[in-house]
Symmetry: C2
Subunit: 140 residues, 2 copies
Protein backbone atom coordinates (compact mmCIF):
# COMPACT_ATOMS: atom_id res chain seq x y z
CA UNK A 1 0.00 0.00 0.00
CA UNK A 2 1.37 3.41 -0.99
CA UNK A 3 1.41 6.64 0.92
CA UNK A 4 -1.27 8.31 -1.24
CA UNK A 5 -3.63 5.37 -0.67
CA UNK A 6 -3.07 5.56 3.04
CA UNK A 7 -3.62 9.30 3.12
CA UNK A 8 -6.81 8.71 1.16
CA UNK A 9 -8.09 6.12 3.63
CA UNK A 10 -7.40 8.37 6.57
CA UNK A 11 -9.12 11.27 4.80
CA UNK A 12 -12.18 9.13 4.24
CA UNK A 13 -12.65 8.86 7.99
CA UNK A 14 -11.72 12.44 8.77
CA UNK A 15 -8.13 11.78 9.79
CA UNK A 16 -4.87 13.15 8.51
CA UNK A 17 -1.55 11.46 7.84
CA UNK A 18 0.62 12.99 10.52
CA UNK A 19 4.33 12.45 10.86
CA UNK A 20 3.73 10.24 13.88
CA UNK A 21 1.27 8.02 12.04
CA UNK A 22 3.69 7.76 9.15
CA UNK A 23 6.48 6.90 11.57
CA UNK A 24 4.32 4.16 13.08
CA UNK A 25 3.68 2.71 9.63
CA UNK A 26 7.37 2.81 8.80
CA UNK A 27 8.19 1.08 12.06
CA UNK A 28 5.65 -1.60 11.22
CA UNK A 29 7.37 -2.07 7.87
CA UNK A 30 10.79 -2.17 9.44
CA UNK A 31 9.72 -4.65 12.12
CA UNK A 32 8.70 -6.94 9.23
CA UNK A 33 6.61 -9.14 11.43
CA UNK A 34 3.97 -8.80 14.07
CA UNK A 35 5.26 -6.24 16.55
CA UNK A 36 3.54 -5.15 19.72
CA UNK A 37 2.73 -1.51 20.42
CA UNK A 38 5.86 -1.32 22.53
CA UNK A 39 7.99 -2.81 19.75
CA UNK A 40 6.66 -0.14 17.42
CA UNK A 41 7.28 2.53 20.05
CA UNK A 42 10.91 1.52 20.47
CA UNK A 43 11.52 1.65 16.72
CA UNK A 44 9.77 5.00 16.32
CA UNK A 45 11.75 6.44 19.22
CA UNK A 46 15.04 5.71 17.50
CA UNK A 47 14.25 8.46 14.95
CA UNK A 48 11.98 10.62 17.06
CA UNK A 49 12.82 10.32 20.75
CA UNK A 50 10.05 12.69 21.78
CA UNK A 51 7.19 10.45 20.66
CA UNK A 52 5.04 9.07 23.48
CA UNK A 53 3.89 5.50 23.90
CA UNK A 54 0.31 6.73 24.17
CA UNK A 55 0.67 8.36 20.78
CA UNK A 56 1.77 5.07 19.28
CA UNK A 57 -1.26 3.32 20.75
CA UNK A 58 -3.51 6.04 19.38
CA UNK A 59 -1.89 5.97 15.94
CA UNK A 60 -2.19 2.19 15.77
CA UNK A 61 -5.83 2.45 16.75
CA UNK A 62 -6.58 5.03 14.04
CA UNK A 63 -4.65 3.09 11.40
CA UNK A 64 -6.56 -0.04 12.30
CA UNK A 65 -9.88 1.78 12.25
CA UNK A 66 -9.34 2.93 8.68
CA UNK A 67 -8.22 -0.52 7.59
CA UNK A 68 -4.55 0.14 6.90
CA UNK A 69 -3.31 -2.31 9.51
CA UNK A 70 -4.73 -5.22 11.45
CA UNK A 71 -4.29 -6.51 14.97
CA UNK A 72 -4.51 -9.82 16.76
CA UNK A 73 -4.66 -10.61 20.43
CA UNK A 74 -3.42 -13.66 22.29
CA UNK A 75 -4.12 -14.16 25.97
CA UNK A 76 -1.28 -13.26 28.31
CA UNK A 77 0.62 -11.18 25.78
CA UNK A 78 0.26 -7.75 24.24
CA UNK A 79 -1.72 -7.18 21.06
CA UNK A 80 0.28 -7.66 17.86
CA UNK A 81 -0.06 -5.45 14.79
CA UNK A 82 0.18 -6.49 11.18
CA UNK A 83 0.46 -4.78 7.80
CA UNK A 84 -1.30 -7.79 6.29
CA UNK A 85 -4.98 -6.89 6.42
CA UNK A 86 -6.16 -9.87 4.41
CA UNK A 87 -7.93 -12.58 6.42
CA UNK A 88 -5.24 -15.02 7.44
CA UNK A 89 -4.00 -17.12 10.34
CA UNK A 90 -1.15 -16.22 12.65
CA UNK A 91 0.49 -18.54 15.14
CA UNK A 92 2.36 -17.35 18.22
CA UNK A 93 5.22 -19.18 19.90
CA UNK A 94 4.43 -19.70 23.56
CA UNK A 95 8.11 -19.66 24.44
CA UNK A 96 9.71 -16.76 22.53
CA UNK A 97 6.59 -14.88 21.43
CA UNK A 98 7.38 -14.88 17.71
CA UNK A 99 4.32 -14.63 15.49
CA UNK A 100 4.25 -16.14 11.99
CA UNK A 101 1.61 -16.65 9.39
CA UNK A 102 -0.02 -20.00 8.61
CA UNK A 103 -0.79 -20.21 4.91
CA UNK A 104 -3.35 -22.38 3.21
CA UNK A 105 -6.11 -22.49 5.78
CA UNK A 106 -9.52 -21.24 4.70
CA UNK A 107 -11.91 -20.18 7.42
CA UNK A 108 -14.79 -19.02 5.21
CA UNK A 109 -16.77 -22.23 5.59
CA UNK A 110 -16.36 -22.23 9.36
CA UNK A 111 -17.50 -18.64 9.62
CA UNK A 112 -20.58 -19.45 7.61
CA UNK A 113 -21.31 -22.42 9.87
CA UNK A 114 -21.03 -20.15 12.89
CA UNK A 115 -23.49 -17.63 11.48
CA UNK A 116 -25.89 -20.49 10.72
CA UNK A 117 -25.72 -21.88 14.24
CA UNK A 118 -26.07 -18.87 16.52
CA UNK A 119 -28.85 -16.34 17.06
CA UNK A 120 -26.15 -13.69 17.60
CA UNK A 121 -25.29 -11.31 14.82
CA UNK A 122 -21.63 -12.22 14.36
CA UNK A 123 -19.39 -9.17 14.12
CA UNK A 124 -15.96 -10.70 14.41
CA UNK A 125 -14.32 -14.08 14.50
CA UNK A 126 -10.71 -15.11 14.57
CA UNK A 127 -8.64 -18.14 15.22
CA UNK A 128 -6.08 -17.97 17.99
CA UNK A 129 -3.27 -20.45 17.42
CA UNK A 130 -0.29 -21.10 19.67
CA UNK A 131 2.62 -23.47 19.55
CA UNK A 132 6.37 -23.84 19.63
CA UNK A 133 8.36 -22.30 16.79
CA UNK A 134 11.08 -24.35 15.09
CA UNK A 135 13.84 -22.47 16.90
CA UNK A 136 12.31 -23.12 20.30
CA UNK A 137 11.60 -26.74 19.38
CA UNK A 138 15.35 -27.24 18.88
CA UNK A 139 16.31 -26.37 22.41
CA UNK A 140 13.65 -28.46 24.08
Amino acid sequence: MFVPDIREKLRGSGYTLTSQRRAVLEALLRAKGHPSAEDVYLIVKRENPRVALGTVYQALSVLEEVGVIGSKHWAESPTRYDLNVEPHLDIRCIRCGEVSEVPGVALGAVEEQIRDNTPYRVTHSAMVVEGLCPACLDGE
Copy 2:
Protein backbone atom coordinates in the same frame (compact mmCIF):
# COMPACT_ATOMS: atom_id res chain seq x y z
CA MET B 1 -18.55 -34.77 36.63
CA PHE B 2 -18.86 -36.00 40.22
CA VAL B 3 -16.92 -35.04 43.30
CA PRO B 4 -14.95 -38.33 43.48
CA ASP B 5 -13.81 -37.91 39.87
CA ILE B 6 -12.69 -34.38 40.55
CA ARG B 7 -10.84 -35.40 43.68
CA GLU B 8 -9.19 -38.11 41.62
CA LYS B 9 -8.05 -35.68 38.94
CA LEU B 10 -6.61 -33.31 41.51
CA ARG B 11 -4.82 -36.20 43.22
CA GLY B 12 -3.30 -37.21 39.93
CA SER B 13 -1.45 -33.91 39.78
CA GLY B 14 -0.63 -33.73 43.46
CA TYR B 15 -3.44 -31.42 44.47
CA THR B 16 -6.19 -31.83 47.03
CA LEU B 17 -9.85 -30.91 46.87
CA THR B 18 -10.02 -28.09 49.38
CA SER B 19 -13.20 -26.40 50.51
CA GLN B 20 -12.27 -23.31 48.50
CA ARG B 21 -11.77 -25.30 45.32
CA ARG B 22 -15.06 -27.03 45.90
CA ALA B 23 -16.73 -23.66 46.48
CA VAL B 24 -15.30 -22.37 43.21
CA LEU B 25 -16.70 -25.39 41.38
CA GLU B 26 -20.10 -24.90 42.98
CA ALA B 27 -20.07 -21.24 42.04
CA LEU B 28 -19.28 -22.24 38.48
CA LEU B 29 -22.27 -24.57 38.55
CA ARG B 30 -24.51 -21.93 40.05
CA ALA B 31 -23.42 -19.28 37.55
CA LYS B 32 -24.60 -21.71 34.86
CA GLY B 33 -22.77 -19.93 32.10
CA HIS B 34 -19.36 -18.51 31.45
CA PRO B 35 -18.48 -16.42 34.50
CA SER B 36 -15.35 -14.39 34.97
CA ALA B 37 -13.05 -14.90 37.95
CA GLU B 38 -14.71 -11.96 39.63
CA ASP B 39 -18.19 -13.39 39.01
CA VAL B 40 -17.05 -16.61 40.68
CA TYR B 41 -15.50 -14.65 43.52
CA LEU B 42 -18.73 -12.78 44.22
CA ILE B 43 -20.74 -16.01 44.34
CA VAL B 44 -18.21 -17.78 46.56
CA LYS B 45 -18.14 -14.80 48.91
CA ARG B 46 -21.87 -15.07 49.57
CA GLU B 47 -21.24 -18.30 51.50
CA ASN B 48 -17.68 -17.68 52.62
CA PRO B 49 -16.99 -13.94 52.98
CA ARG B 50 -13.39 -14.49 53.99
CA VAL B 51 -12.26 -15.96 50.68
CA ALA B 52 -9.82 -13.81 48.71
CA LEU B 53 -9.99 -12.99 45.03
CA GLY B 54 -6.46 -14.31 44.61
CA THR B 55 -7.56 -17.66 46.00
CA VAL B 56 -10.30 -17.83 43.38
CA TYR B 57 -7.80 -17.14 40.62
CA GLN B 58 -5.50 -19.80 41.99
CA ALA B 59 -8.28 -22.34 42.38
CA LEU B 60 -9.48 -21.70 38.83
CA SER B 61 -5.95 -22.12 37.57
CA VAL B 62 -5.50 -25.44 39.37
CA LEU B 63 -8.89 -26.73 38.26
CA GLU B 64 -8.07 -25.81 34.69
CA GLU B 65 -4.64 -27.42 34.90
CA VAL B 66 -6.13 -30.77 35.89
CA GLY B 67 -8.79 -30.55 33.19
CA VAL B 68 -11.89 -30.08 35.32
CA ILE B 69 -12.77 -26.69 33.84
CA GLY B 70 -11.86 -24.72 30.75
CA SER B 71 -11.24 -21.07 30.05
CA LYS B 72 -11.55 -18.73 27.10
CA HIS B 73 -10.20 -15.27 26.59
CA TRP B 74 -11.60 -12.44 24.51
CA ALA B 75 -9.64 -9.23 24.03
CA GLU B 76 -10.73 -6.32 26.20
CA SER B 77 -12.62 -8.46 28.70
CA PRO B 78 -11.72 -10.79 31.52
CA THR B 79 -11.15 -14.49 30.98
CA ARG B 80 -14.30 -16.60 31.18
CA TYR B 81 -14.45 -20.03 32.79
CA ASP B 82 -16.53 -22.98 31.70
CA LEU B 83 -17.53 -26.37 33.11
CA ASN B 84 -17.78 -27.61 29.54
CA VAL B 85 -14.32 -28.99 28.78
CA GLU B 86 -15.27 -30.54 25.45
CA PRO B 87 -13.96 -28.68 22.40
CA HIS B 88 -16.70 -26.24 21.44
CA LEU B 89 -17.32 -22.70 20.27
CA ASP B 90 -18.41 -19.82 22.49
CA ILE B 91 -19.59 -16.44 21.28
CA ARG B 92 -19.43 -13.26 23.36
CA CYS B 93 -21.81 -10.33 23.05
CA ILE B 94 -19.82 -7.17 22.50
CA ARG B 95 -22.52 -5.09 24.17
CA CYS B 96 -23.59 -6.97 27.33
CA GLY B 97 -20.74 -9.47 27.61
CA GLU B 98 -22.93 -12.59 27.70
CA VAL B 99 -21.21 -15.72 26.45
CA SER B 100 -23.15 -18.56 24.80
CA GLU B 101 -22.22 -21.71 23.03
CA VAL B 102 -22.40 -22.19 19.28
CA PRO B 103 -23.38 -25.77 18.49
CA GLY B 104 -22.77 -27.68 15.33
CA VAL B 105 -19.43 -26.30 14.21
CA ALA B 106 -16.61 -28.77 13.77
CA LEU B 107 -13.08 -27.42 13.94
CA GLY B 108 -11.23 -30.69 13.61
CA ALA B 109 -10.54 -30.30 9.92
CA VAL B 110 -9.28 -26.75 10.37
CA GLU B 111 -6.97 -27.78 13.17
CA GLU B 112 -5.54 -30.49 10.99
CA GLN B 113 -5.00 -28.00 8.17
CA ILE B 114 -3.17 -25.74 10.57
CA ARG B 115 -0.83 -28.50 11.74
CA ASP B 116 -0.15 -29.37 8.09
CA ASN B 117 0.74 -25.80 7.15
CA THR B 118 3.05 -24.60 9.89
CA PRO B 119 6.47 -25.70 11.09
CA TYR B 120 5.37 -24.85 14.64
CA ARG B 121 4.29 -27.63 16.97
CA VAL B 122 0.72 -26.50 17.63
CA THR B 123 -0.18 -26.64 21.30
CA HIS B 124 -3.45 -24.79 21.36
CA SER B 125 -5.97 -23.32 18.98
CA ALA B 126 -9.32 -21.73 19.58
CA MET B 127 -11.85 -19.67 17.74
CA VAL B 128 -12.75 -16.31 19.22
CA VAL B 129 -16.22 -15.22 18.12
CA GLU B 130 -17.99 -11.99 18.95
CA GLY B 131 -21.34 -10.54 18.04
CA LEU B 132 -24.59 -9.07 19.31
CA CYS B 133 -26.84 -11.32 21.34
CA PRO B 134 -30.56 -11.45 20.53
CA ALA B 135 -31.45 -9.28 23.53
CA CYS B 136 -28.99 -6.58 22.53
CA LEU B 137 -30.09 -6.79 18.90
CA ASP B 138 -33.59 -5.83 20.01
CA GLY B 139 -32.63 -2.50 21.47
CA GLU B 140 -30.43 -1.44 18.60
